[in-house]
């Protein structure tokens, strides 16, 4: 069948404003949308800018806004977004990050926020030539967060980042912090606290659940944000400190 791709184009060097370009292109219902975009770029319009790599949802390169929702183009089949001949699919770059060219955005702030939460195991106790022990139950506690591929879909979809607080560190960084906070082997909670417990840290989240809805890895993102908030308030309770336990 033939479908219409309506793609947002923007080259900051050439265009003053973004605009939409329509392309008619052949597609099979079971094609990945990424396959169609690559065919378009390779055979119709080589100037179309987009990122891609693994093409099966594990590298996180091709998150974009498809018909208004953040998705990975390689995990979106044509039949999910186009009902038949002449169906229109609208494709835009991720939000809340500057566009570099067409569907490519500058992920600098996303990775900076990620790095800020010290996303690595903090534990200086010595282990010699063996593993640290961890029960399957302890391991299961942070399993969900380990699925994150840093695709930035949640960072783009977050209404708080879009409308009220562009400095908010965003859902993915908190998921990554949670991955270590909930890992019994980690000793870094207090070290990470200043990067989570402040006005642009965990507190701007007011449970819109958009992050959870768009996550291509089905991570319970909002749950993990709330869990992290709870860890912080629980930590402070014995100290009688609830100064910043509320949003804002």
């Amino acid at each position: 069948m033939k479908i219409i791709l309506e793609i947002q184009r923007f080259n900051p060097k050439k265009n003053q404003f973004p605009y939409f370009q329509r392309y008619e292109i052949g597609a099979e219902p079971n094609d990945r949308l990424l396959d169609v975009l690559m065919r378009l770029q390779r055979t119709v319009d080589p100037t179309l800018g987009l990122r891609k790599s693994c093409a099966h949802g594990i590298c996180g390169s091709d998150a974009m806004v498809i018909d208004g929702h953040e998705r990975l183009a390689c995990k979106t089949l044509v039949k999910e977004v186009a009902s038949g001949d002449g169906a229109v699919v609208r494709i835009e770059p991720l939000r809340t990050m500057p566009v570099q060219r067409d569907l490519m955005v500058d992920q600098g702030s996303f990775f900076a926020h990620y790095r800020k939460v010290k996303p690595y195991l903090i534990n200086s106790e010595e282990v010699r030539e063996k593993e640290r022990l961890q029960s399957p139950e302890e391991r299961a506690r942070f399993d969900d967060a380990t699925k994150c591929i840093l695709c930035a879909a949640c960072y783009s979809a977050c209404p708080v980042r879009q409308k009220t607080n562009a400095a908010y560190i965003g859902p993915a960084a908190i998921v990554q912090a949670s991955r270590f906070i909930e890992d019994g082997r980690d000793r870094g909670f207090e070290e990470r606290l200043p990067d989570l417990d402040f006005s642009d840290g965990v507190w701007p989240c007011v449970n819109f659940f958009e992050c959870t809805r768009v996550c291509p890895r089905s991570i319970k993102v909002t749950y993990l944000i709330n869990l992290t908030k709870r860890r912080i308030t629980d930590y402070r309770k014995p100290k009688g400190d609830n100064s910043r336990a509320k949003p804002g």
Partner: protein, 578 residues
């Protein structure tokens, strides 16, 4: 723009990051990658990393080494394979200590499962050797290593595409790369360069490999006169999702999944009565094609898109959820099926290059049979050929390879740059290296790249694929020569400088065409069947004539192929039966 570092690592997958962590302790180190670091294809590895921890049953590194050698049809260098198996154990513990979330046994240790070709006591029965983090082990290794790079402040140059490596008088002095964001050419002058650019499965139409797997490192070196080793050995993984080639991990069979033909027969009983569905990948891929060729594929029409079934429905929902969740997700997304309820339609998919840049066991690039090295030049991971995989790699050994040899290369580099000076950049080499891009930018018109790519992928699939014949391969060589000729006329249609992904795609196609040429020529020359190289016109293994590595040197439009000895000092070659 000229940058100066002690060490430049090309590629930010497992081997590159491990090397950068080791080398970066003492030396000024930069990582350049054409992707962002966590986008590299190490992240797509699924089932596990093999190490004889013996956590769930008796196991020994020596057995792991033997399995690796036998799995590789005796073309692996045996001391190197022993090193691989010995150091795998420490490497897995080290990764755990860095935070890698392995699945656990009830008593809290790293859990292990079965994988193809891994046995106890030199082939007696399958052994549980693969350490795993669900079925996203590679993802977790990549994440863990990147996390450590953040902790240790490793410097990254993201989205820089390798264009050339400067080599003169067997000394490497640096490299050239083009920056995606600006289109600018950068020169990196360095005491040591490590190439860890990964595989090149994009040679083939159906592949489990990423778009990025275009063999940039080996191709650049080949054009600079470095011979490539064992290029005729390319592994097809037996279970790719039909049509798409997306990998369905061998762990499905490790956990008890079974392959069946259209009659519901467990056909591996015929081909490998001992290990059955856990036989090595090359044997299972051939078995599947044989079933299809004899009309027992599911469609039954013997066509190229016929397939067989991988049945995991008897494992139950809980096992699949806990141990194979990603596979479950792929099946839902791409096939609309639940593997706990229905079998998965699969066909072989081009997966892994056993061959590549010849190195010694310290990652140093060695250009001939005498072990002559290029000073300051290193390679590790899939782009390198130590050789530990021989003619066919065992499952889980790719992850072992990249952590063991990424680390070993990093350690050697660390020592080397301590005593070496910063080499001079030969000006004429630099100019020559930058020329091709300038030419590409000047040319308009010319042939479109896409038909060349499709032609190459189809003919590699059909003529240099799982079963090979001299006549087909000779044709393939001729056709690739033609394609390489057309390629030289390609012009750049996207004239923009910034974020010009078209430019990168054209450079990648050039790399693939050179590697296709070396692969087809090497395959045509080897007149025997060994591991993944299966010739219908020479069906037997011929140790007397062919128990040797090949070294293929690209000289403009010609390929010269020489030999390199195989280390068989521990286990004398025997027929390979499972």
């Amino acid at each position: 723009m000229i940058h100066e570092f002690d060490v430049v690592v090309v590629g930010a997958g497992g081997a590159g990051l491990y090397c950068a962590l080791e080398a970066g302790r003492k030396a000024r180190t930069a990582v350049i990658s054409k992707l962002y670091p966590v986008r590299s294809h190490t992240g797509a590895a699924q089932g596990g990393i093999g190490a004889a921890l013996g956590n769930v049953e008796e196991d020994r590194a020596e057995w792991h080494a033997f399995d690796t050698v036998k799995g590789g049809d005796y073309l692996a260098d045996q001391k190197a394979a022993t090193l691989l198996a010995d150091e795998a154990i420490g490497a897995v513990y080290h990764l755990e200590n860095l935070g890698l979330p392995f699945n656990r046994t009830p008593d809290g240790r790293i859990d292990q499962r079965r994988f193809g070709g891994h046995t106890r006591n030199f082939g007696e029965a399958p052994v549980r050797r693969a350490c795993y983090a669900a079925d996203r082990t590679g993802h977790m290794i990549l994440q863990t290593l990147f996390q450590q790079c953040i902790k240790h402040d490793v410097a990254f140059h993201d989205e820089f595409q390798l264009v050339d490596v400067f080599i003169e008088n067997n000394r490497c002095s640096g490299l050239a790369a083009v920056e995606l964001a600006t289109g600018d050419l950068h020169v990196f002058r360095a005491k040591a360069v490590l190439l860890a650019t990964g595989g090149f499965g994009r040679l083939f139409r159906i592949t489990s490999n990423a778009y990025a797997n275009t063999g940039d490192g080996p191709a650049v070196l080949a054009r600079r006169g470095v011979p490539l080793e064992d290029m005729e050995f390319f592994q097809f993984h037996p279970t790719g999702i039909r049509g798409l080639g997306i990998l369905i991990t061998e762990a499905v069979r490790g956990e008890g999944g079974v392959l069946r033909n259209r009659n519901g027969e467990r056909f591996m009983e015929k081909y490998a009565p001992g290990l059955l569905d856990l036989a090595p990948r090359d044997m299972i891929s051939r078995a599947i094609l044989t079933e299809i060729g004899e009309g027992r594929g599911v469609k039954g029409d013997r066509s190229a898109d016929d397939y067989v079934l991988l049945d995991a429905s008897h494992l139950g929902k809980d096992v699949i959820a806990a141990k194979l969740p990603e596979i479950s997700d792929f099946c839902r997304t791409y096939l609309g099926i639940d593997p706990a309820a229905e079998p998965i339609p699969v066909q072989p998919t081009a997966h892994y290059a056993m061959g590549g840049i010849p190195t010694d066991d310290r990652g140093r690039v060695a250009v001939d049979d005498k072990g002559t090295i290029i000073e300051g030049l290193y390679a590790a991971g899939e782009c390198a050929c130590v050789s530990v995989h021989g003619a066919n790699r065992l499952g889980t050994n790719s992850l072992v390879d990249l952590v063991v040899f990424g680390r070993r290369a990093g350690l050697d580099i660390s020592g080397y740059v301590g005593q070496a000076g910063l080499p001079d950049l030969p000006r004429d080499l630099v100019d020559k290296g930058l020329e091709p891009i300038a030419r590409l930018r000047e040319r308009t018109g010319g042939p479109a790249p896409e038909p060349l790519r499709e032609k190459m992928q189809d003919l590699m699939m059909q003529k240099v694929g799982i079963f090979r014949r001299g006549k087909d391969m000779a044709e393939a060589v001729g056709e690739i020569e033609e394609l390489r000729g057309h390629y030289r006329e390609i012009g750049l249609l996207d004239r923009g400088r910034e974020f010009n992904t078209s430019l990168l795609e054209i450079l990648e196609l050039g790399n693939l065409l050179d590697l296709a040429y070396l692969t087809a020529c090497s395959a045509l020359r080897r007149r025997e069947s060994r591991g993944a190289h299966a010739r219908e016109d020479f069906p037997g293994r011929d140790d007397a004539a062919w128990l040797k590595h090949s070294l293929a040197r690209l000289d403009g439009d010609r390929v010269e192929i020489g030999d390199k000895h195989v280390d068989i000092s521990i286990w004398p070659p025997k027929p390979r039966k499972y």
